[in-house]
Every structure is written in C-alpha cells, then in structure tokens.
C-alpha cells in the first residue's frame, strides 16, 4: 500500500474547463451580470457573486425517454396501506415519482453558479472602451520599451548570441565537411601504430598524405568564421502610458441635494472601476466648487456641506492649475467627469465654455458631463427630454469633435446605461486610429 499526499498539488485543475464553460455561455452570463448589477449597490459593483442563467444554453442533450406518456412501472418502498388492485390518484404533473427524479438537474430551468470578482468585472465592463485611448499613447511616444526581435549579423559584442553563433558555425562546418578533431586523432594513432609495428610502407605513406590533407583542410575552414557571428537584435516599441488621472468635479452648492450627490457618486465609482481596469495606476482628484473651487479628499467631497453661489469656471481653473502642477500631459492620461444640477451664474457661462474649449478639452482624453436631476422631476413640456438648464445650454455649444459627452441622469437605474452609452465601443473610431 502507498499513501500519497496530494494536498500540495497545484489546485485549480478545473480552471481551464471553467473558462471554456464561461466562454460558451458568455452571452447569457453577460446578460445575467447586467441584470444582477442593476439592483446592487455601487460599492459592490465590482464584486463577484451568484448569477443564474437559463439552462437551455448550456444544456447537454442525451437520448432519453420522455417523462410523460405511455405505461410506466414503479417499484417503491414503504408501503403502509395499499393492497393489490388499489387505485392511487396521479400526483400533480411534474412532481412525479421520485424514482424519476433527474439526477443531473437537466430539468432545471435555471443554472445557478458563482462568478469570481475578476470574471464578474470582466463581463460587466466588456465592450466598453476608453475613447481615444491610442491618441495619447502616440503623443507620448518618448517613453520607449526595448524588446527582443530576432537576430542580426552585426551589433555590439555585449549582445553576441553564443548559441546562435555556434549553430551557424556548426552548419557551415558540416556543409564544408571540415574534418573532425576525432578523425584526425584516430588517423594519428593509426599512423603511430603502424610505425611502431613496422607496418606496410605504402599504406603508411597514404595515411600520412591523408592526415596532411585533413590538417590543411581543418586550418582552411575555421572553427568560427566571422560570417557565423550573430547578435541579438532589439527593437524599440513606444511604451504605453500606464497612468491615468481622473478629475471629479462637482457642484456642492445648496441646490445639490443628497439624491443628486448619490447619483454623481455612483457615476464616479463606475468610472473609477473602469479606469482601474485599463490603467496600471489611477489617481483621483476631487474638486468641489461653489462660487470658488477647492481640492478636497473623498470624504469631504461627498459628505461635507458648503454654501455659496455657483460659479462653474472656478473648478475648471482649479483643474488647470492642478494639471500644470502635478500631471504633465506627456506622462498622464487625463479624464474628467463633472456632475452638476445644471445651475450656473449666467455671466459665467461664456468663461466656462472658453476655458473648456481652449484649455481643458485639448489635454483631456475624455470629458464627461453628467447632469443630475430629481427622481420625480417632470419631463419638460415638449417631451424631447432636453434639459434647459444654464450649463446644459452652454455645453451644447462645445463642438462635436471634441472628446466631450453629456448626459442627464435622474434615477439610479439610469446610471449604468448612461455610463455604457458614454463608453460603448465605437468601431469606426477604433478603425480610424
């Protein structure tokens, strides 16, 4: 008898099968994930969890007899009162007899299982693409990464590839039939032996000539020739900037109530989750403003109250200031999301627009403006759904080509669809790059 301890064997043997399963059921799982996320709190948006998908898509059909019709025959244990010839009313359709209970759960309408955080997030954010991701990569091409790309016949000695060089040399030696050291040594031994034993003269002469010829040949054909030498070749590729900074701008004046802040927070969280997946490092900067702007920490940003007027441009100036101080454009991908109820001092609108157009948008990868409203707010008459706030009207004038998008959100459930809409993969744009 042997005892083997398998506990230390690497786990995750089913991982590959699981991936295959997820790939197969991808469309359904994705749908399930989206549905599940609509009634989740934003803090858990990125957590894994249980989902259920219709069993039909991952059903494994087999040839089996139907569970209905025909003459059936059961042998059951535990008889208490029946005698031969008794009639038993049929149980409700479907509940059936236990002896028919499906052992592989084929009859289930739903298939439930748990997804890990990673899998969940993958599916959750699938199809979303950061706009103009590539632009800044090219713009910031000073950072360069070297990687190996084949071999070349010249280069610095430090990059000499010994295995490759010897391989070349070997094939050349074989091709030119360079005598091997062994052969020469054998020949020498043979001659020596014949000399010692006083062997046949003619043969000795022949062998000596042969030996001379071989030695000459091995001198003529060098062991390593300059043509054999190979060097490792390196190629430079532009290094993508793996850092991003996300600016959260929010109006905290009195007109912004808790519900609006909550909506804004959800939007920021999603954006953060999303950026975090795409970049190695994400910085978040919180700027709040009333009639003046401040950079604050997260707690203050969401929860502390402030009173004052509303001058949006102050936040934009503050953002510019921080950009210049800490986030050089060449090193950082810059994203901004602004949330507001749409109020602004009328005289400020033109300043906002100018600042946005001339300073902020040219350096931004993407600028999203989310106008938050009350849940129970009436649709404006006319039904077009177009808000008519101060800020909205101003932002309407931003050119279409700019990396700028604006949406209006009233209810929690709108957040994710709006987010998806803003970041959904645009194929023609991707091709254009």
């Amino acid at each position: 008898m042997h005892i083997i301890d398998r506990r230390l064997n690497p786990g995750g043997k089913s991982f590959a099968n699981r991936q295959r399963f997820l790939r197969r059921a991808r469309a359904q799982v994705r749908k399930a994930v989206r549905e599940a996320s609509s009634h989740r709190s934003i803090k858990d948006a990125g957590k894994g969890g249980e989902v259920s998908i219709p069993a039909g898509g991952v059903h494994e059909p087999v040839l089996r007899r139907s569970t209905e019709g025909g003459v059936r025959d059961y042998v059951l244990p535990g008889n208490k009162k029946y005698i031969q010839g008794d009639g038993i009313p049929r149980p409700d359709q479907g509940s059936g007899q236990g002896s028919r209970a499906s052992d592989s759960g084929e009859g289930e309408d739903e298939f439930r299982f748990a997804l890990t955080d990673e899998e969940y997030l993958d599916l959750y954010l699938e199809d979303l693409e950061l706009p103009d991701l590539a632009k800044r990569q090219i713009a910031g091409a000073e950072a360069v990464q070297w990687r190996q790309a084949g071999y070349s016949s010249d280069g610095p000695p430090a990059r000499l590839s010994v295995p490759r060089t010897l391989r070349q040399s070997l094939s050349r030696r074989i091709a030119l039939k360079r005598p091997k050291a062994d052969e020469i040594r054998q020949l020498r031994d043979e001659i020596e032996r014949l000399e010692r034993e006083g062997g046949h003269f003619e043969e000795l002469v022949k062998l000596r000539a042969d030996l001379e010829h071989r030695i000459l040949r091995s001198k003529r054909i060098p062991y390593i020739d300059p043509v054999d030498v190979r060097y490792r070749r390196l190629e430079s590729t532009p290094k993508p900037i793996a850092k991003a900074v996300m600016f959260c701008l929010m109006d905290v004046s009195g007109s912004m109530n808790e519900h609006m802040k909550d909506l804004a927070k959800r939007f920021y969280s999603l954006l953060y989750l999303f950026l975090n997946r795409r970049y190695e490092h994400v910085d978040v900067v919180f700027i709040r403003h009333t009639h003046e702007a401040q950079e604050v920490d997260e707690q203050t940003f969401f929860y502390s109250r402030e009173t004052g007027g509303t001058v949006v441009s102050t936040a934009l100036f503050k953002m510019e200031e921080i950009l210049q101080a800490r986030y050089p454009i060449s090193d950082w991908n810059i994203y901004a999301a602004q949330a507001s109820d749409g109020d602004n001092t009328s005289s400020d609108n033109s300043v906002v627009l100018q600042q946005l157009r001339d300073v902020i948008l040219p350096v931004c990868q993407y600028y999203a403006y989310v106008e938050v409203g009350m849940d129970d707010e009436e649709e404006p008459p006319g039904g077009a759904g177009e808000p008519s706030t101060n800020l909205w009207r101003a932002y309407r004038r931003v050119s279409v080509d700019a990396p700028f998008a604006m949406r209006r959100v009233r209810h929690r459930r709108d957040i994710y669809p709006v987010f998806r809409e803003l970041f959904s993969r645009r194929t023609e744009a991707a091709e254009g790059i």
């Binding site: 399963f21 059909p61 535990g78 009313p89």
Partner: protein
C-alpha cells in the same frame, strides 16, 4: 488482546497505514476478500470538487461541460445544499482511493474499509468489470486522451474539437458495446480451424453428394438489402462506433475523438450495471470490518458510535411518501441484501428454504457472498436474491401508471401473490438494456442521398424526450454529414414519431 488503533479524531500517515493493515487483517483473512493493492491519496475539498467535475477521474481531457458541473457542484457545496463524498475510488490497478483531509480518524477507517477493501474487491472480481474494463491501463489511456485532445485543440482549434466532443458526449449513452464482440481470430487459430474443417469434410466425404441435383440459386436481388446491411454491420446499436467507423466525411482526428469518448464511456459501463451490488459489497464490507474492529477492541466506543451515525445515514431508505425520497437507495438495498444473504446462509427460515434452496443453511456466508459478488450484476442479483423477507421489510410495492387509465394502479405488494411480481419489476429497473432507450442504426441509403436511418424501438409506449432527441439527432447529422432520420416505432410496427435533421455545414 489488541490495543486501540487511535484515540480522538486526529490522524496521520502512520495511522492510515496501521488502520489499513488492521482492516486487511479482517477483510482478507476473515472474510476472504481479494482486493487490488491500494494506493491511498489524500486530497483537499477543492480537489474533491475537481474530481467530481471530471466524473471522478484524477485526470481528464478538457471540455466546457466539466466546467459547468464544477460550477454547479461548487455553488451547491458553498451554500451547504450538498455535502461531499468522503472518498472516491477508481477502478484501476493499483486501486486508487482518494480520501479527504478533513475526515476524522474514524471516517478514514470507514473509508479505507469501504473503498480499499469493499469496492476494490468488487472491481477485481466481478465478471462485468473483468469483461469490460482494463484496470491496468485506464489511467495511461486517460493521460493519452488528454494529451491528444490538447494537441488537436492546438492544431485544429478549440471550437472545432469542441463541436465533435459535444456531439460525442450527446451520444455517449449509445456508444457502448453491450455484448462482447467476436474477436478477430489470429492466424494460428484460423489455421487450426481450417484444418479441423478439412478433417471433418474428409470424414463425411461421400461421392454420392455430388450426384444430388442442386436447387435453383436464390434470387440475387432479394438479399441485396441484407447484404448491404451485413457489409455495414447493420443494425448497429453502438451509434458512436458506427459513426466512427463509417461516417463518410469525418477526418481521422475526428474519428479518434469519437473513439476516445466511446472507450472511456465503455469503461464506465460496468459501473452503471452494478451500482447496487458494488455499493452493497462495499457497505457490507465496511460494516463487518468496523464491527470486528470494535469487537477486537481496536476502536473505542466513541469511534464506533461515530461510525454507526454515519453508516445509518448512508443506508437510510426513506419511504415513497417521505420528502427525502429520491428513488431506491442503492446503498440501502445492496447492504440489506448482503445481510439477508448472510442470514439465509446461517439462520434460514422455512420460507428461505423454499425460495433459495441453494443458499439456505449452507453456512460459509462469506464464500457465498464472494461467489455472488463475482458472478452477478444488479439485474440478476435482484432477480435471484431478493428474498420475500426483505420485500416485506422494505414494504416494496409495484405501481403501474398507464396513460389511458384514470389513476395509477397498485399492481402488486409485499404479499404471497406479489413477491415474484415485485421482484421481477425491480430487477427490470436495474436492467440497463431496458432503462436506456433501444436505438439502432438500421439502414443507410448508399445508392441515393446517403440518408442514415435510425430506429427507436418503443417500449410501453414511452417515446423519446422530444427536444433532446431533436438536438442529439442534429449532432448525429453533423457527424454523419448527410441527412438522418429517426423513426420511433413499437413492436407492432406502428410508427409513432419521426425526427429528421440535416447537417449544419461540414465539420471542418
């Protein structure tokens, strides 16, 4: 007197070794079991879940369906709906026994007795296993299969391989040979036979035969059908085998995939036929070994109570109207039958003498049991050895549910008139040939559009599950490469249903 093997729930490898020896002392010396040598492997919960997903085997090729089973089992386990088995045992030589690290010392003892002696003995000695499985080669074959399928995936793409495997899996219940085939004779025995035939001919030679007028030869056209079928080996119930050998458009690697699925499934075929006996043998063995260990003072009362607790829940048979009822528990039935056979051998009643004259009072119960374990399968086991006493104890009764009748009818119960009826009906339930639908390939229109014709022999008016049948037939069509038709007909020759499918493009 012996000393206690262990105290408390903790165990280590030394203990496992000692327990294994102590069990062997009883199993082999007292009961006369003849198991394979054991290889015991300690695994974790996660590894147990992994093993569940790949039908219990330690290695298996990759396929999404295993991932699906893993996901379900894991979800069930994490939520506490489903416990895990204490062990898994693989029919190989040496016999692989997987034991969970979290079992207590008593459970490890139980598991070793159950799997390492009970199942292992059964695997080695039962005729169905001897006939159908190659215990020495199975792990090597699985290793080979996994490597080959991975190679095919690299070469032809995961999706292509998956398509073929999906189709093969759908057909795997109809990919077994149910009867041993005629082996191809080798040259030496062929020569001997030929010699024998000639000698026979010489003995019978009589010149008069030459003068007997020969009747008209049979018309050639009439048996062309039969000839074509014979050439293709039709009718054929092993659908996978037929497709592997005959499907005109499959590439050789696709045939190889079908073959792998078919052979692995054939390996599991005996297990499906001997569930009751196999578990009965193992449960009886562990029950006996644990009792003897306790009698000999090798385990203490606490351990024995722990064992009884677990044992009784394993052999629990809820009544049909119990919420927990899910069919007849093979552990319960098998264990009860083995116990009953022992009782009949040693302390028979008059009834037993009448019903089982061979066994009643013959003594040597272990000898009788070993003989039965070796030479029967579930169907014959039940039909031979289910005694009236046991039918009464289980309160077995037979219900017939005819679609045309108003209500279900109790056909027989556990009384003098019903014993044979109940026993025959139960035995039929364990007959795989009856349980699986009988589907055969009956003809191919070789001259015409190459349509493949399958026939389902409908028993008791129960048709195939329609959705599934259609889907499986689609897989058959994909493999065959031309149209297929499945006719469901009963013995009277009435066609009850017909399904057709056309291939969805050629398998690349």
């Amino acid at each position: 007197m012996s000393v206690l093997l262990y105290r408390g729930p903790d165990w280590d490898f030394d203990l496992i070794k000692r327990v294994h020896e102590a069990c062997g002392e009883i199993g082999i010396k007292e009961m006369g079991l003849d198991p394979y040598p054991n290889q015991i492997e300690v695994i974790t919960t996660e590894q147990m879940l992994d093993a569940y997903a790949s039908t219990g085997m330690p290695l298996f090729y990759r396929h999404w369906s295993f991932g699906k089973h893993f996901a379900r089992n894991e979800a069930m386990y994490r939520k506490g709906y489903q416990g895990l088995a204490y062990e898994i045992v693989i029919n190989s030589n040496p016999c692989l026994v997987y034991i969970m690290e979290e079992n207590s010392a008593t459970m490890q003892t139980l598991v070793l007795a159950h799997a390492g002696y009970g199942h292992s003995h059964f695997f080695k000695n039962n005729y169905v296993f001897k006939q159908w499985t190659d215990a020495d080669g199975i792990l090597d074959y699985l290793e080979f299969a996994r490597g080959l399928i991975a190679k095919y995936e690299d070469r032809y793409g995961q999706e292509q391989v998956e398509r073929v495997l999906d189709a093969a899996h759908a057909l795997q219940s109809h990919g077994v040979h149910r009867f041993p085939r005629k082996r191809m004779p080798d040259l030496r025995s062929e020569e001997l036979r030929e010699e024998e035939r000639r000698r026979h001919g010489e003995q019978l030679f009589n010149d008069l035969w030459r003068t007997v007028p020969v009747g008209q030869k049979r018309k050639a056209g009439a048996d062309e059908d039969a000839k074509r079928k014979a050439l293709l080996g039709l009718p054929e119930e092993n659908l996978l085998y037929f497709l592997e050998k005959t499907a005109p458009r499959l590439k050789s690697w696709q045939r190889e995939l079908l073959r792998i699925v078919r052979l692995i499934n054939q390996y599991f075929y005996p297990q499906r036929q001997t569930k009751v006996m196999n578990e009965g043998c193992a449960t009886f063995t562990h029950h006996r070994i644990m009792n003897r260990l306790h009698e000999k003072g090798q385990i203490d009362d606490g351990a024995f109570l722990e064992f009884l607790h677990s044992h009784t829940s394993v052999v629990l048979q809820p009544a049909f109207d119990d919420r927990r009822f899910s069919g007849i528990n093979p552990y319960a039935l098998g264990f009860a039958m083995c116990n009953d056979i022992e009782r009949i051998c040693t302390k028979p009643t008059d009834e037993d003498r009448e019903w089982m004259p061979d066994l009643a009072g013959r003594g040597d119960p272990y000898g009788a049991l070993c003989d039965i374990w070796a030479n029967y399968r579930d169907e014959s086991f039940v039909s031979q050895f289910l005694s009236p006493a046991l039918i009464r104890e289980f309160g077995l009764f037979r219900v017939v549910d005819d679609e045309d009748e108003e209500e279900m009818n109790v056909a027989a119960i556990h009384d003098e008139r019903g014993y044979r009826n109940v026993r025959r009906a139960l035995s039929k339930h364990y007959d795989i040939a009856y349980r699986d639908p009988d589907i055969q390939i009956v003809d191919v229109d070789l001259a015409g559009d190459r349509k493949l014709i399958l026939n389902h022999r409908v028993l008791d008016g129960v048709l195939l599950e329609e959705n599934d049948a259609q889907k499986v037939l689609q897989h058959v069509a994909d493999l065959w490469g031309y149209d297929v038709k499945l006719v469901e007909a009963d013995d009277a020759g009435d066609e009850l249903a017909e399904h057709t499918a056309s291939p969805r493009g050629v398998l690349a």
